[in-house]
């Protein structure tokens, strides 16, 4: 039966997350970006909201069931506060959720409780490769079976917290399929770039280039399950975050336009601006429903869930670029100044074409 209203439980979660997002993340965002650092206190507070913990069953240390939809609702709110903060808080999910979705019973029991029951610690995932036509289903990084081991070879970019991560999930092509491998820190051949990578946005997160130079890992570190559910979970998470960023940009530019005088009226009273805002709101709401549908399809094990997740992220990429660009435009010259957050949202907005792999629900 159609319904477009979150459950009571989801509403409570949304409320709690949204309070943290606006009171903590949003307030810290500017400084975090400029100083290229998020405080660990801030991240810990976000971790204590228990978004990931609620997605992991009790048997593995958590207190709930994984729901892509609930996750999407939560990360949308987080990203509306600050995208870098949202991704940092969710970093352990980059490791835990692939284990939950594609791991064996043994792997889940081994890896999940120490993450879920502890304070926030950096975990990571290495999916993205430095190529213009990067395709998660056609990786250049390879895994070769050699005796009881796999040998991983390839190059990864945009690996968050790689320098300090307890462990990461590295993705590689094995027999023409993308597979996930658990790579603990300090493995021989695992080369973390000397300096942090520099990007147009997300400067508050330490990203590294990671080179896998014939990293030899035991067979038991292969997550046996399919990659598709992992990719779907990431696409939906990233798409939901795109909604959050777009919502932030829309709200800020709307308030600005209502406040600023021009030719004797408010900027927002000019149809040229009002129509831009109307289209932004419509676009956000439309794509938001598409993202919810994809998340719902995942939770309900629909056959076309993967296609829906793909459509959701593809739609979200264009939507968030359009919305963040217009937000800067509505503020005019002020939009270009870093004192206002809209230029950061525009930089982050463009990144959604690249961010699949940096969030999971």
């Amino acid at each position: 039966m159609y319904s477009f209203e979150p459950s009571e439980e989801q509403k409570m979660l949304i409320d709690a997350v949204s309070r943290y997002a606006s009171n903590d993340l949003r307030k810290a965002a500017h400084e975090a970006e400029e100083n290229k650092e998020l405080s660990s206190k801030l991240i810990s507070k976000g971790w204590e909201l228990g978004i990931l913990q609620a997605s992991i069953p009790e048997a593995y240390g958590g207190f709930g069931e994984r729901s892509a939809l609930t996750g999407a609702l939560a990360v949308e709110e987080l990203a509306c506060g600050d995208l870098a903060g949202a991704m940092a808080v969710g970093a352990p999910a980059l490791f835990a959720l692939p284990v939950l979705l594609a791991g064996s019973e043994e792997q889940k029991k081994q890896y999940l409780p120490p993450i879920i029951e502890a304070d926030w610690k950096p975990y990571s995932a290495a999916l993205i490769e430095p190529a213009f036509d990067f395709d998660p289903n056609d990786l250049k990084t390879t895994a070769m079976a050699e005796g009881d081991n796999y040998i991983l070879t390839g190059e990864k970019t945009l690996v968050p917290f790689a320098d300090k991560a307890e462990a990461m999930v590295a993705y590689a092509r094995l027999n023409n399929e993308t597979k996930a491998f658990i790579v603990p820190k300090g493995m021989t051949g695992l080369k973390i770039g000397e300096a942090r990578e520099k990007f147009m946005g997300l400067n508050a997160i330490p990203f590294f280039r990671v080179t896998l130079e014939g990293v030899k890992i035991p067979q038991a570190n292969l997550l046996p399950g399919d990659f598709a559910p992992v990719l779907d979970g990431s696409r939906v998470a990233v798409a939901a975050m795109a909604i959050g960023v777009a919502k932030a940009a829309f709200g800020y530019s709307r308030d600005y336009a209502k406040d600023r005088d021009v030719f004797g009226v408010k900027v927002a009273q000019k149809q040229a601006i009002a129509f831009m805002l109307a289209e932004m709101a419509t676009e956000i709401e439309a794509i938001r429903l598409l993202v919810w549908e994809a998340a719902w399809a995942i939770d309900n094990k629909k056959e076309d869930a993967s296609q829906k997740a793909y459509l959701a992220i593809t739609g979200a990429i264009d939507m968030t670029m359009m919305v963040t660009d217009r937000a800067v435009q509505i503020l005019g010259g002020h939009g270009y100044i870093r004192e206002h957050p809209v230029e950061l949202w525009m930089r982050n907005g463009r990144g959604f074409a690249t961010f699949t792999g940096l969030a999971m629900v």
């Binding site: 039966m1 159609y2 319904s3 477009f4 209203e5 979150p6 459950s7 989801q10 939809l69 213009f132 036509d133 990067f134 395709d135 289903n137 709307r254 336009a257 209502k258 927002a268 009273q269 149809q271 009002a274 129509f275 805002l277 109307a278 289209e279 709101a281 419509t282 709401e285 439309a286 794509i287 429903l289 598409l290 919810w292 549908e293 719902w296 399809a297 309900n300 993967s306 296609q307 793909y310 459509l311 593809t314 739609g315 264009d318 074409a353």
Partner: protein
């Protein structure tokens, strides 16, 4: 609890309607496009018989107080499917067009019974809405048609000219139907003076004049109606006859309440047409060996694949906006914002999709051998009637900005 599953009750209806669309609409689509002003009686009679057999009177949801309400969701799903069959022929569906919508939204229980019961009769009956006038379209507060109360005879005297009345011919000349005429009872009151009046077929002084020749939806008649000292009973006014100046603009609000209900339905029509187009496009491409490879990064897709995937995103997301708007309607949630959003989006989407589909198929798209070119022509109306895309943007903008119409003109 968020749920994207079609309710079972509606899924059944949808299947039935699909059969109608496939068997009774598609085969005659081209014929009625080429024979403008001919009436698709086979479809009309079938729909009338079928609706009666199911115990309904029209497609417009009847009020029911208990249990979850699905009426507008069902209507949107039906309209989407019928427009997938043929948008022009769908507009010939007896009962439950805009006139009934206005009666449903603004009439008293007695009025609803009196005016809507005719749809339950032996023969199909039509209804229509008369808003637009030669000198005003979107600016409905500028209407000049007047309604003057004849105190002695307790009758309203209507005078004025209405144009672009969808299905007006069928309502007034081909059946014992009615039109809802928006007129002013106090010109100085502006919007506050606007009221809807029911004018029944064969009322003296009400004449159907010109039948328009259109770009598309040619199976549906569009007429002008002239009111010359047209007398209707006092009880035919929908809503209150009192004018309260400088206060709530009741009359205009009635029109707006009607739009909250009808805009998503018009949007659903656009979605059905857009879906038909996208499906045919994909079929035609598949016959020529082009299968859309979902899941690939854009850099690896052909431009045709990119277009098709974008169309799919537009279509799907627009459809959910429509369903959300009608779901809110069914659940008694104020939906002016969502209603107009769905109309804005659907109007854009259907035009984008039909225009691109014709472009992609080249000479085959342009040819009358296929329905793509017809759908391209049918599509345009969705961005015009029931509030143009621009008017609906204005409605959305006022809502999100918290502005009254005087603050955002």
């Amino acid at each position: 609890m968020i749920d994207f599953e079609i309710p079972e009750k509606i899924a059944g209806t949808r299947l039935v309607v699909e059969t109608v669309a496939v068997n009774m609409m598609r085969p005659v689509s081209r014929y009625f496009d080429e024979h403008e002003h001919e009436i698709p009686w086979d479809y009309i009679n079938f729909m009338h018989t079928a609706t009666r057999a199911m115990g309904g009177s029209s497609m417009v949801p009847s009020e029911k107080k208990e249990g979850p309400r699905f009426g507008f969701q069902r209507l949107a799903v039906m309209v989407e499917m019928l427009s997938w069959g043929d948008a022009g022929i769908y507009l010939c569906t007896p009962g439950g067009m805009l006139g009934s919508a206005a009666v449903s939204a603004t009439g008293s229980p007695e009025q609803k019974e009196r005016f809507l019961k005719r749809f339950r009769g032996e023969t199909p009956v039509f209804d229509a809405m008369c808003m637009t006038e030669p000198q005003c379209g979107s600016d409905t507060s500028a209407i000049r048609t007047t309604a003057v109360l004849d105190q002695e005879k307790k009758e309203w005297l209507l005078n004025g000219e209405k144009i672009f009345v969808t299905a007006g011919h069928k309502a007034m000349l081909d059946s014992e139907g009615f039109v809802v005429v928006w007129a002013t009872i106090d010109k100085s009151a502006g919007r506050a003076g606007m009221r809807p009046f029911v004018v029944e077929a064969k009322t003296a002084g009400c004449q159907v004049l010109k039948m328009e020749h259109k770009l598309g939806i040619r199976a549906s008649d569009t007429v002008s109606i002239v009111l010359q000292d047209c007398r209707v009973p006092f009880e035919n006014i929908l809503g209150s006859p009192e004018v309260v100046k400088d206060q709530a603009t009741t009359g205009f609000k009635g029109a707006m309440a009607t739009f909250d209900a009808t805009r998503p339905i018009v949007a659903a029509q656009a979605i059905g047409l857009a879906r038909a187009t996208l499906e045919l496009l994909k079929e035609m491409l598949a016959e020529r060996g082009i299968i859309i490879r979902y899941g690939l990064p854009r850099q690896k897709l052909s431009s045709v694949e990119k277009e098709v995937i974008e169309m799919e995103i537009l279509l799907r997301s627009a459809w959910w906006l429509v369903l959300k708007a009608v779901w809110m309607m069914d659940n008694g949630k104020p939906n002016s914002l969502e209603s107009s959003m769905s109309k804005v989006r659907a109007g854009d989407v259907v035009n984008r999709i039909t225009q691109k589909a014709v472009e992609i198929m080249g000479p085959l798209g342009y040819s009358c051998e296929y329905l793509l070119e017809k759908w391209f022509r049918d599509a345009k109306i969705s961005d015009i009637y029931e509030g143009t895309g621009q008017i609906n943007r204005l409605v959305v903008a006022r809502q999100i900005l918290g502005y009254r119409s005087s603050e955002l003109r």
